[in-house]
């Protein structure tokens, strides 16, 4: 039995990503100037972006699939990677965390996410998830001499380890029932065997692991501590990438493998979504640290995005993907503003910012409006699009709840704006401007405004 050569075209993006990450690890030993590594990372990401549309197909014996669904998610991951590198350059120098491994790990994490989005087999999915998770554990703790960063890493690692174990348990039960790990073949087998308690148990175990990755309540406990302790650039990276990857696998596994128990998982996810929106929005109100506030806000957004999965329609899935795409820009934009300020981690640091730094305040205003969902920003389009799809699927009451929580969210987002524009300045706010950071902010703010004014760009 000779194993035939697989068709490598569908995996070229992943191959390039992994090779560049490995190369960066070696180049790190040679180059003293870490900016070169960042540049190589961006080049690799750009190359991947360029060849990705041509990488459609299935390979490795049907374990790996590159379709329009996965390619869209990969675009989000690549955008996330490029923006993160841009906002990291000067910031990690300031934080004394400028290690070459930083960029290598960012690329490895992105490669893991790409594998997750393309997995047609639960084993590949698990490997991708671990590659992403292990890299982000290290990145969260990359400020080695900072106790909070260490705490973030160890918390994320321990809880992430538990969730991986649950995922493996769920997968093994599923394998025991169907004798396959192929997501599509599992669906076929399950249609023939019908609903059993074991199937429900395995679905719940797998759901817990995925919901942990997207930081949905009640599996969100790690998020505020990890987001606060990790370097801000990594917080931005984690709040978009792993979340989008989590939604990618939820979409793939639940819509395909668990098709015949859709009513069961929809019921569970409805409860989770409502709880997530409640916990995220209500606890965000009492935060005084802006990174913690944005952590709870990202929990709340995970709740909204879950509605797209609950809808159970193609429209719902599309709206979910659009939401994640827009969320990447507005969230990284907000974190970029936190990074640009010398002291920007506490809410009180923003008092009177508008008088002192009118442009920075105006940009923050755009991102906060977008996160709230106020037109003409992209955040409004994202929410409007998502809620329309969910109403069409027949969950009007759920949308009413989501809109109510969205109104609550205005309180804490607009409090930042109020601090900037209506409070007296306490002290001059120093800023750290660099070309790469300016470029990142320019890209994000332009995307937020352009999508807000011309939504046809991303919808349809």
């Amino acid at each position: 039995m000779n194993i035939p050569f697989p068709d490598l075209r569908p995996v070229t993006p992943e191959i390039i990503m992994t090779l560049s990450a490995t190369a960066l690890l070696i180049l790190e030993l040679i180059f003293k100037n870490k900016g070169v590594l960042a540049f190589i990372g961006i080049l690799a990401a750009a190359a991947v972006m360029y060849i990705m549309p041509a990488s459609m197909g299935e390979t490795f014996g049907g374990m790996f699939i590159s379709d329009s669904y996965s390619i869209f998610f990969k675009f989000i991951f690549i955008i996330n990677l490029i923006l993160t590198i841009l906002i990291s350059l000067r910031y990690i120098q300031r934080q004394k965390a400028e290690y070459g491994e930083y960029y290598s790990l960012l690329l490895f994490a992105t490669a893991g996410m790409m594998l997750m989005a393309s997995a047609k087999d639960l084993i590949i999915l698990y490997l991708g998830l671990e590659l992403m998770a292990l890299s982000t554990y290290i990145l969260a703790g990359i400020k080695r001499h900072d106790v909070k960063s260490n705490e973030a890493a160890i918390k994320y690692f321990l809880l992430g380890g538990f969730s991986s174990a649950l995922l493996l348990y769920g997968i093994s039960l599923l394998y025991g029932m169907t004798t396959t790990t192929d997501i599509y073949k599992i669906a076929e087998h399950l249609k023939a065997t019908g609903v059993t308690t074991t199937l429900l148990l395995s679905m719940i175990l797998i759901a817990v692991a995925f919901l942990f990755k997207i930081a949905a309540a009640p599996f969100h406990m790690w998020a505020p501590d990890v987001y606060e302790g990790a370097p801000t650039s990594i917080t931005a990276f984690m709040s978009v990438g792993p979340k989008a990857a989590g939604f990618a696998v939820i979409g793939r596994v639940f819509y395909t493998a668990f098709q015949n128990i859709q009513t069961d998982w929809t019921t569970i996810l409805i409860g989770i979504a409502i709880l997530t929106m409640a916990v995220g929005n209500i606890l965000a109100i009492v935060q005084t640290n802006i990174k913690r506030m944005l952590a709870y806000s990202s929990i709340a957004h995970a709740g909204y995005i879950l509605l797209g999965i609950i809808a159970g329609t193609t429209e719902g899935l599309n709206a979910m993907m659009t939401y994640l795409f827009i969320y990447a820009f507005m969230n990284i934009g907000a974190f970029a503003i936190v990074i640009i300020l010398d002291r920007g981690e506490e809410l009180s640091d923003y008092e009177g910012l508008a008088k002192n730094r009118p442009l920075v305040a105006a940009l923050m205003l755009v991102f906060m409006f977008s996160l709230t969902g106020i037109p003409p920003t992209a955040g409004f389009i994202a929410k409007f699009n998502l809620f329309t799809a969910v109403i069409k699927a027949g969950y009007t009451w759920l949308v009413i709840i989501a809109v109510m929580f969205s109104a609550i969210s205005a309180y804490y987002y607009l409090r930042v704006v109020m601090n900037m524009y209506m409070k007296e300045m306490k002290q001059e706010a120093a800023i750290h401007l660099s070309p790469s950071l300016s470029l990142a902010i320019l890209i994000t703010v332009l995307m937020v405004l352009i999508i807000g004014i011309m939504p046809s760009m991303v919808i349809g």
Partner: protein
């Protein structure tokens, strides 16, 4: 429908293929327990203080057994695990090498090259230096 699935319905399927493993485990337990039992029946019993110390002919233990190890041990342990796993993967590959052909050779070379990158990295980062 896959006939194997019917066989694997919980409760009705008995994995007879694994019966030798079960018998082997039982023999192993019986052998160990039996040896200890026979020994305790026939040996002389004359305990005195020196004989009951943990290391009869060694140094008497000093201090608590639990203390913090140097982090260097962990680095060595982790590096050992990585290259140990590499060796474990090489064995089954080498056993069926004749049957699986060129593709498997390329795959294995890739695997080793990636590990070599890690090795070079660890070397350059002085993970192997004790001081």
């Amino acid at each position: 429908m896959n006939p194997q699935i019917d066989k694997m319905t919980p409760g009705s399927y008995i994995p007879t293929d694994y019966l030798p493993v079960l018998i082997f485990m039982m023999i192993a337990v019986a052998f160990g327990a039996g040896t200890l039992l026979v020994g305790s029946l026939f040996r002389l019993r004359r305990p005195y203080k020196e004989k009951l110390t943990p290391y009869e002919s060694g140094n008497p233990p000093v201090g608590e057994p639990r203390y913090r190890f140097s982090i260097k041990f962990y680095i060595i342990a982790m590096l050992f695990v990585i290259f140990d796993v590499e060796a474990v993967f090489l064995y089954p590959w080498a056993v069926v090498y004749n049957k699986i052909g060129l593709y498997a050779l390329i795959e294995m070379m890739l695997f080793i090259v990636i590990l070599l990158v890690g090795y070079a990295y660890a070397w350059k980062k002085e993970a192997f230096k004790w001081d």
